[in-house]
Every structure is written in C-alpha cells, then in structure tokens.
Symmetry: C2
Subunit: 389 residues, 2 copies
C-alpha cells in the first residue's frame, strides 16, 4: 500500500532581478511562506530536498543541502539534487518517493537560483554546463544555439514559422499580466516578438526565457499526516515520472523529439491512472518558445508536428480548451533555473485551489500537470496533481 | 512491509592520479565492473543515482545524471546528488530508499571525481565550496584550516597530540599496502608523519587525504529480485541514516563534535536494529586524521575524548578489536570526493564476502558500517551492512 502525497503548502519569491540577494535568503523566504501556507511547524520536517543548478558558478557554493535546510530553519537530513533546469522537480520527486515509501511524513522541497549577479558571458557559461561540456559546449554551443537547432529541425520536418512561435510568447506574456510574482507583467504582440533583437535564429529576444533570481518551496505531507493534523491540503500529487535521454543532441535519433519527456509522462500518467485527455491545464518548460511545442507533443496532447499552431489557434490560451502556462511560464514568469520546478508546483497548486489570479480560467478543473526539463531535455520530470472535489 | 536491499555487485577504479581521464570515463569503468560482479544486465536498471561534487569546477559539467547513466550504458531516470564529500553515500541512500519504497528493483549508484587536472589553488577553491562560501570561505578558510580548528579545539578540550594523530595515518597506510586500488600502497612510520611538510598545524602532509581521481559504482537490488534471478548477493544494506548540522562551524555548539554523524548513526542503528557493539569493522571518513577520531566518537564506539588514542593503542588496526579503514581509508586509498562513499561500499562488500585482500582480518565478521561525511560534517550518511552467514 503506497502512501499518497499531499501538497500542504507552497511558497515562492517574486521572480526577477535581485542580484544582491543570496540563494539562501531567497529560499528562506519561499520556505517561510510554504510553512505558513501549510500551517505545519518546521520542527516536524523529516527530510529536505533542495534543487540548485549553478550555485558553484554564482556563489562558489556547493554542499547546499544543509545550507538550505538551515536557511529554512530546519535541522533534518538534507540533500541537494541537481538536474540542470529540472533540479526542483527532481527534488519534488525525491520527496514524493520518500513519503510514498513510508520513510517520511513531512518533506520540505524546493529550490533557488541566483543568476543576475553574473555577467552575460558568465551566466551563459554557467547555463552551458547543462549541455555536454565535452562534445557540445567545447564546440561553441550555448542554450539558445542548442534549442535553435531543435527549432530549425522541427521546421524542416514538420513546417512552422517564427510567427507560430511568436504566438506562444505573446500568450505567455498575456497570462502573466496580473501575476504579481512574474518577472514580466506586460503584454506584447506578435510584431514585438518578430522585430526584437535576434538572439539565435529563429529566436529573437522574446522567444527566450530570461535570466532570473528566485526561489520556490513546498511542504509535502503524507495523507495520514494531513488527516491527523486536520490540514487543509486539497491538492494531491497523484503521478510522478522522471526519465533521461542521450546527453548530447548529436547522439539522439531525432532532434525535435524529446523521448525523456515522453517516458517521464508515461510513468506519471500510469502512476496517476490517467491519460492526457484527463488533464485540464498544465505548466510546461518553455525555456524557449519551441520548447513548449516539443513538450505538448511529448506529453501526448498533440501529434508530432501539430502543436506548433496551438497558441496561434488559441487552443492553449487562458480561454482555450487546454490552458498552458497560466502563470506566464518560464518566458514571462521568469526562470531562476533551480527554482522553476517548484514554482510550477506552487502556481498549479494555487490554480487548483482557486487562490491564483488566473484561477477563474480553470474553475472546475480537477487535474493539472507539470513538465520540467533539464538541458536539451536530456532529463525530464513530470508530475500530475489532482484536487479534491 | 519494507523491501530489503542487497548489494548485487560493486566496482571501482584504482584511485590515484589520472588527470587526463574524464569523470564519465572513470564512472563507465566502475559501472562495467559492478554489472559484471552483479551478473545483472544493464537493461533492467530502474534508476540511477550519481554522486559528484566538483565537476562544475573540474570539467565545467553540471547535469551529470543523464551523462553518468549514458556512460554506464543505461537509459533510466538518473539524478545527480551532491552532498560535498558525502555525495556517493547520499546516492546509495537514495537508491536504498527507492528499493525499500517499492519504486525500484534495480538501482545503479555510484560517483566519480576528477580532481588532479586542477592546479592546487584551483582544487583548493573547489573543495572550499563544501564549506559556507559566505561566512567561512570568504574569510579565508580552506579545508585543512577548518579541520585544524576542529583538531586544536579537540586537543584543548580533551587532550591529545600530533603523535596520537600520526598513528592513525600510519595505520591507514599500513592497511593499504596490499590494496591494489589504493593511491598509496606504502608503509610510513610515526616519524615520517611528524617530520612531513606542515600543511596547517597540527596537520602535516600525512595527516591529510590526497587529491585523487576515481570512480565507484554498485548495483543495488531488492531481495525479491535477487531471489528471482538467483543472484549471489550475500551482503544486505540493513541500516541507512543521514543527517545535517549547522552549515558553518561558528554556528555549532561544539566544534569537535559532529552531531550530524551522531544523528545519522542513530537512524542507521535503529533501522538495522543493532548498536555499535554489534559492528565488527568499519570504514570512516578520515579526510584528515582528526576526522577518524571524531567519527569513532560520534558513531558511539568511544566516549568523547577517548578515540584519540585508539590507533596508538592498536585497537583500530587490522588485528585490533575494531578494525577501522581496512581499505586504507581516505588517507591512503585516496579521496576522489564524489566517489568515496561508493568506494567504502565496494571495499566493505568485498571484505564481508571474503574476496578482499584484507578479508582475513575479519574472517567471521557479520556486520560492517560506513561513515561518509560532507564538509565539516554539516552532512553525514551512515550505512550498516550485514552478510548472510
């Protein structure tokens, strides 16, 4: 008999530029909020899993497990997990497994990233450590470069245009307009995207998620603990999946497919006993506009080659049939990489509970999904959340 | 009902200087050996946990989960865990928890570290990332400095001399003399230790573990899987514990005590249903000679202030009542930090199975223990191993 896992509380800092704040300070804020939201004292925490990607570059800081635990006011077994931009979702899955396995009743998970204290070349170098340092980075690839290969190959195989991608950026910005936690709370239009500074063809500036500082946290508890302590925790994590792929793009059978995401989704769907048809809305890892397309196809919402027009056709908008990135996504909410998976959990939990600024878009929704990817999707973590009716 | 965890196979590279070998190449070798030892095909691996500490410094490489899995010929969910020098033991505990929780039947764990491609100042900077970057490293502390504070405070509170510590180095070197995998297979005497170049008082060169390159791996399986596949896997992991402490030395109540190790040991003992009196021999994290003393006290083998004379009195030698670091320990076997916890598991498994060069010293032994510490023991992982009679 597997224990079920409830999200007792969530917290996150506003995402944006705060180069003078340390990762631990930001995580302390997110954890404070999560404990308050959960109404759980920090003394009962059994374990801490903390996601961080580039702290050795930004703060020369490794060994962040005990650092993060102490910042959160917790003395408990604490581990840093690192899966590049999927670090925090990996922390969530570690917590889910501990609770399900009966090893823990209360787990603090989350992550933080401090990025904007680095110069652009320093930040670009740090982010590149998520790709294959020996066979990709050494040859000059950066992340806009890697994802542009994926986008151009997608266009080659299936068709699609820069305009199609632009609609994704426009949508995600629009979703973030009223989200106080988002880095960019401003509308843009397709022309803004197409006319922006070119970063790496086909990506202009608005096709790329920004450098961001921020932290996220959540208190996960066993069903039993929630009942015993009469917690108000209506959101359950019913599905958890993670998988990997060949590390370098050159070793993959197909560049615009992300089998790590397919396999992680299959695990999560089977785990939850649902399929994509049951999902009401989702957050996906749109580090670049094309990434949202690849995610929607890998997760089974669209056939290969068909998600490229989803935003243009209005389907993934707030008022569409499958709202995607109601938080604003990585694009507009911001992407402090080690915090992102936890921020997805925070936003989805609030959306499901009805206390998110965009909750009215998903009033009767019961099932949500989070997709958090590492590197060029060499790793991916998928979670399914369900809310008590 | 908790699934029990068996060590189906172990592997490690020789530890030493191989600056031209990448971490992934070394891990591939260790994993090959572990799969062969286990007689388990790599296709059945459900999950990979990989420990690495300083790969972003040494190879500018993060996101090492999928990198390590691919190097080992495995496509499975894969996560890098990082707890400084306790990274690989954290990987072991992650694997143990997955199997116990019923999420996995077969887990590949291990770790690697490439260190000697860095210059001494570069390596020292990288290692310092295991301490508090904001409140310790910034003030100039390095690891020999931090542990020398612990040693000097120990001397102040309990007494003890450089000679006492020297006996620990002499013992561990002696234990490594016939260990082909050890970095230093040479005897030294007390005079060698006392007359060696001073590193940071009270530590001379021989009080310090070296910079090393190397990797370790193990295939862990559920009891059921071992039975179904008729595996020869007599060693069981019966106890697993992990804990943390205040990150910086200055925030701790007592500098020469390591409560993270005490708490991790308590968890592991309770988990295994044993006490220190049941342990026949052990590997402890002797990154500096004083660390072996602090470990033996925290683990409950000696009262505070009493382990300092254990090596001098012959008690922790190969032919003593409690053999400690039969592999040579970090001191003589070497300390590629992300691999060390896995190397302890490899050495202990062979010692228990009777196929280690020092197995004759522990012929009828049934219970062994591993103690792997991160930083100044801000984190610690303890495992108890038992062998079928």
């Amino acid at each position: 008999m597997v224990n079920s896992v409830r999200v007792a509380g969530v917290g996150m800092t506003p995402f944006g530029k705060s180069p003078e704040r340390t990762a631990r300070e930001m995580f302390a804020d997110a954890a404070d909020e999560a404990f308050e939201d959960a109404d759980v004292p920090r003394e009962v925490v059994d374990e801490v899993f903390y996601g961080n990607f580039m702290g050795t570059f930004a703060e020369r800081q490794g060994h962040q497990g005990p650092m993060a635990a102490e910042a959160a006011g917790v003395i408990a077994p604490s581990t840093r997990v690192e899966s590049a931009c999927a670090s925090a979702a990996t922390a969530i899955r570690s917590g889910v497994n501990q609770i399900r396995g009966g090893q823990s009743d209360v787990v603090l998970i989350g992550g933080a990233e401090r990025m904007t204290n680095l110069s652009t070349p320093e930040g670009t170098e740090a982010l590149a450590a998520a790709a294959d340092a020996l066979w990709e980075v050494r040859s000059g690839i950066t992340f806009p470069g890697a994802y542009s290969l994926m986008a151009n190959r997608y266009f080659e195989e299936f068709g699609g245009t820069r305009e199609d991608l632009a609609h994704i950026a426009v949508k995600n910005h629009e979703h973030a307009v009223d989200n106080d936690l988002a880095q960019f709370q401003m509308s843009i239009d397709v022309e803004d995207v197409l006319e922006a500074t070119m970063v790496c063809s086909p990506f202009g500036l608005f096709d790329c998620s920004p450098m961001s500082d921020g932290a996220s946290a959540a208190v996960l508890v066993s069903d039993e603990f929630a009942e015993e302590h009469d917690l108000d925790a209506p959101v359950e994590i019913t599905g958890s999946g993670q998988h990997s792929d060949h590390f370098a793009l050159a070793d993959r059978a197909s560049i615009p497919e992300t089998p790590a995401a397919e396999r992680a989704a299959k695990m999560a769907y089977e785990d939850a006993g649902i399929g994509p048809e049951d999902v009401d809305f989702l957050e996906v890892h749109d580090c670049f506009t094309i990434a949202e397309v690849l995610a929607l196809e890998a997760l089974g919402f669209y056939e290969p080659g068909e998600a490229i027009t989803a935003a243009r056709d209005g389907e993934t908008w707030k008022d569409g049939k499958l709202p995607v990135n109601l938080s604003g996504g990585l694009k507009a909410k911001g992407h402090p990489v080690g915090a992102t998976g936890g921020a997805q959990l925070s936003e989805l939990t609030k959306l499901l509970r009805g206390d998110h600024v965009n909750s009215d878009a998903v009033e009767d929704a019961e099932v949500a999904l989070a997709h958090n990817a590492g590197g060029t999707v060499a790793s991916c973590v998928v979670h399914v959340l369900e809310v008590d009716e």
